[in-house]
């Protein structure tokens, strides 16, 4: 048997053409307990159903090790192509390499892979999204407004990139008086905001790194009887509703369903012999109360 390591590159054989209905697609999603990724799934599933493609979807429950196992199992099942939405872009590398070894093309969604060969990355530009949020707040609240930031799960790439984009654009323009993590969780967003308001009753804005936490913040702000400009991120259904009714001022909307669709479309293109772009940008748009009610 072989000894050594399991990461050698396999030769890139020519793509054998396959029509969508002959294609077996393996999908590994980071989680299904978050509406955003449920929408990604919806996008993939919707297009697949239309084209009668067989998809098998696994859910890593936000556990990097489980995702590796899931992908191994998908490779064992001999899928033709893998659509991976990594829990973490560094920890996914070995799994991508495994897929490379098995000659299975990999398309990543929302987050990239740090190593291995990836056919294409479908994502919106989180850093840019953070910037959009900052710019909106500066425009709306003016320079040096006191604001707070609700952060996501520590270390998650979304936390890092959205935070980076926002913080860089807000530097010297906004006064970020509090930064607390609320783990992308609505209940935590609520209690964390309550506590922030307690210590900083003079803040006029809150940037939340996702809509879930922003919606928690909405409840806290309402309970405190304050007027605070809340900006979320993601554009999930509940978030959009809150923006429409004016409870949130804006959200940086991603289009997760579109992301899913684009990923699967890239797979179709690949097996249709077309070249697929290395990076497919899924559009972001700033949704504000004004833009919705126009």
């Amino acid at each position: 048997g072989k000894s050594g390591l399991d990461s050698g590159d396999s030769g890139n054989s020519k793509v054998e053409k396959k029509s969508p209905k002959d294609l077996k697609v393996g999908v590994s999603l980071s989680t299904q307990s978050n509406p955003f990724f449920v929408s990604v799934k919806k996008g993939i599933q919707g297009l697949a159903d239309k084209k009668s493609t067989k998809v098998q979807i696994s859910d890593a429950q936000n556990d990097t090790a489980k995702q590796n196992n899931d992908i191994e199992d998908l490779i064992t099942k001999k899928v033709d192509v893998l659509i991976i939405n990594p829990v973490d872009s560094s920890a996914i590398t070995p799994a991508v390499k495994d897929a490379n070894d098995a000659g299975i093309p990999v398309i990543t969604v929302d987050r990239s892979a740090d190593g291995g060969k990836v056919l294409s990355l479908v994502a919106s530009n989180s850093t840019k999204g953070g910037q959009m949020a900052a710019k909106f707040m500066i425009d709306k609240l003016g320079n040096d407004a006191k604001i707070a930031e609700l952060q996501g799960i520590p270390g998650a790439s979304a936390t890092r990139e959205r935070g980076k984009g926002f913080d860089n654009a807000a530097k010297d323009k906004l006064d970020i008086v509090a930064k607390q993590t609320a783990g992308f969780d609505r209940a935590k967003g609520l209690s964390t905001t309550e506590n922030i308001l307690q210590g900083n009753s003079d803040i006029v804005g809150i940037f939340s790194q996702n809509d879930e936490m922003a919606l928690g913040a909405v409840q806290a702000v309402k309970a405190a009887g304050k007027e605070v400009t809340i900006v979320g991120f993601d554009g999930e259904d509940d978030g959009i509703k809150a923006v429409k009714s004016g409870k949130m001022a804006a959200t940086v909307a991603q289009q997760p369903e579109e992301m899913g669709r684009l990923a699967l479309q890239a797979a179709y293109d690949h097996f249709n012999g077309k070249t697929v772009k290395k990076s497919i940008e899924s559009p972001l748009k700033l949704v504000t109360t004004e833009s919705l009610n126009k």
Binding site: Q32, P35, V38, T181, D185, R186, A187, E194, G199, D238
Partner: protein, 328 residues
């Protein structure tokens, strides 16, 4: 293991029993010290507004922990409370969104929580499964069921927000005091009486102290066990309703790891994990300690990384102090 009790008797003879007092009041003293500390560091803490805030935040954990107190007194444990909270929250929210009368929806949620707790009780009493593993399994099952039921999406029907009653549960005020605090107080009172003033309470202690002897004394140990897990499920359901109402939405992953906070509250309150020893008053104090820590550290702007470390250390100190005062 060694040298016990003798000293207790000796002290008693002397009139005032200082060690016993510390033993009983230890958690309360710890809370007082903590409150003073936080107040000094962050004067905003002691404002009535913040205190109400804190109590409201505590209410969810406290209600679960009150139920957990019974479970732990029997020497058991209930890891499934967080999942029960999520599932009952989701079902209640769905019923409300479907336009069902709020009273019925709330009752249905509470009934479901009790039923799930009842299932735990059955597995433990009749299936003779160890409580830890039985509720570990149902924790997974109920969580899975919540995901299946919600399809992973939060439930936020518009109709849910039409119901004044439902909104009131988590977000209402009565005489300027948030309603969840009232719920917590009522639950405390009822369970206090149940535990300390009824035969059911005595049986709970007996079961935890020595199951065999309880059986011989004619205690229907299986029935008591089933009831106790039912109560725990019921409490989780009440907490689920408060949370769902506060958030105006039912999250499929709500309540994840709430069991740990509830257990910590019970143990901080001086209840022994071996069963048979403890008081529900202690649990209230335990929940307040945890709440004060969370709230205080947020006020102080301590990074969440360090918050975890501090919380862990406080739990250890409290438990060690408690051991010491019980010891000698």
């Amino acid at each position: 293991m060694q040298e016990q009790t003798k000293s207790v008797e000796a002290e008693k003879a002397k009139g005032f029993d200082f060690k016993k007092f510390v033993g009983k009041m230890g958690p309360l003293l710890a809370l007082i010290v903590l409150v003073i500390l936080v107040t000094v560091l962050s004067p905003g803490f002691i404002q009535p507004n913040n205190l109400l805030n804190l109590l409201r935040q505590v209410s969810i954990n406290a209600v679960i922990a009150f139920g957990m107190t019974f479970v732990i007194l029997t020497g058991g444990i209930d890891l499934s409370v967080g999942s029960i909270l999520a599932l009952t929250g989701a079902v209640t929210a769905t019923l409300l969104s479907a336009g069902i009368s709020p009273v019925i929806a709330l009752l249905a949620g509470i009934a479901l929580g009790s039923l799930l707790g009842f299932v735990n009780g059955l597995l433990i009493a009749y299936g003779k499964a160890a409580p830890f593993i039985a509720t570990l399994a149902t924790m997974t099952i109920f969580r899975g069921a919540t995901y299946v039921f919600t399809n992973g999406n939060p439930i936020t029907g518009a109709k849910m927000n039409d119901s004044f009653l439902f909104q009131f549960m988590g977000r209402g005020y009565l005489l300027g005091i948030p309603f969840p605090i009232f719920i917590m107080a009522i639950v405390y009172l009822v369970l206090y009486l149940l535990l300390h003033k009824t035969t059911f309470g005595r049986k709970t202690y007996a079961l935890g102290g020595n199951e065999n002897a309880a059986f011989i004394a004619g205690v229907k140990t299986k029935m008591v066990t089933i009831w106790i897990y039912t109560i725990s499920g019921l409490m989780a359901a009440i907490a689920g309703i408060i949370l769902t109402s506060r958030l105006s939405s039912a999250q499929p992953d709500a309540g994840t790891s709430y069991e740990m906070d509830a257990i910590a509250a019970v143990v901080l309150g001086g209840t022994s994990l071996a069963g048979g020893k403890g008081r529900i008053f202690g649990t209230l104090i335990g929940a307040l300690i945890i709440g004060t820590l969370n709230n205080g550290m947020n006020l102080l702007g301590i990074s969440s990384f360090y918050q975890q470390i501090v919380k862990g250390i406080v739990i250890i100190i409290a438990v060690l102090l408690d051991r010491k005062s019980n010891d000698k």
